[in-house]
Symmetry: C2
Subunit: 218 residues, 2 copies
């Protein structure tokens, strides 16, 4: 569902189930990033004795060189990537242009929650066969920020308190959600969790945000 | 510095400054992963109107296909990647074989701290020009785990409490450190922080770990 990028959707002004993140839109940069994501995953899966890995390295370096040759200065690129006031396309959790991002897609619900499903693979591994605890924290921190936006607020994380209840499995669909629960002046409290398909809460989080507008580079 | 992979170094048994993480060793898979990391970064920097992005996508998909064709089953790969009892090569923070990892290299010190320097770029961005708060949590969670190993303990994260004191800059060297501070039966308390070169503490963390041995797949 498309949105006016200049307007933060809120529970009050948007329909149920609106997508709050930038879904891949088929642009060449999204296609290239999806392919890079696939390479990152495949590099962790492939046979270590694959005799062609040296050539793979050469080819990837050649691609990187080409992309770097066509890259503007960092300051100019910063302005460009923060253009507009809506959701971004480059963050490490939901960004279709960031190969580090799974990417997670979050939708807003009428009850104030934002929610998304994701299945994580080897790049996000901590304990054997399970999600890295720090990756769970990363996904939740970002989800809470989107939950704040969904309620019409924004803020910088001041405290992030993560509780680990059960190991979070790789290779299984996980549901990640967040919801603003309290506003006290500039202080915003937001909670969230990560659950498996059978409803087991693996990780929960409560965070304190301080409402402040961070100016975008321009 | 090389280590016996079967032995966890501890403050008591290892010299000052021993490297606790797997540094890239020049193997083809490390070279290919370093090149993939460069592609991930360059994709976020390159000009969005680059007419060759469609071809870049094709080339990356072709590389991924080749790697996937030479990949063992997930269960077999899991056994292989967890071979040995020492530091791993595939985690998303220090792993030279994981293109998501910056990667961070951590060294142990005689005073019980583990410490490493890292400079982060666009893939790790949260607010404009600054490190994503969730990425800071990810790096710290992993560092605390290594700090536990450096003190001869290991455990699963039960609570991770992160405090954000100042925005953490991209494109500047950051120092990340952690240290086990308290042991109470199976409960382990470990602290850490991220500082800039001028000593500003941007993020601090205190975490509770529960000592338990997680069996490696075999």
């Amino acid at each position: 569902m498309s949105q006016d990028p200049a307007k933060h959707p809120t529970v009050g002004n948007a329909p149920d189930g609106i997508v709050l993140t930038s879904a891949p839109n088929g642009e060449p940069v999204d296609q290239a990033t999806a392919a890079a994501r696939r390479v990152v995953d495949a590099l962790l899966r492939t046979d270590r004795t694959n005799a062609n890995l040296h050539r793979v390295a050469e080819e990837l370096n050649s691609i990187a060189e080409h992309l770097e040759e066509h890259a503007p200065e960092v300051a100019d690129r910063l302005i460009d990537m923060w253009h507009g006031e809506g959701v971004t396309r480059h963050d490490p959790v939901t960004g279709p242009e960031n190969a580090i991002a799974p990417p997670l897609t979050l939708a807003g619900r009428d009850d104030g929650y934002v929610e998304g499903d994701v299945t994580l693979t080897f790049p996000y591994q901590g304990p054997p066969g399970h999600v890295h605890g720090g990756v769970a924290a990363l996904l939740l921190d970002h989800t809470l920020g989107v939950a704040n936006a969904w309620s019409g607020r924004s803020g910088a994380t001041a405290q992030l308190n993560v509780r680990y209840h059960a190991p979070t499995p790789l290779f299984e669909p996980l549901t990640i959600r967040g919801r603003l629960t309290e506003e006290n002046g500039r202080k915003i409290t937001t909670v969230g969790d990560i659950r498996t398909a059978d409803g087991t809460v693996c990780v929960s989080v409560e965070a304190l945000f301080i409402d402040k507008t961070v100016p975008r580079p321009r």
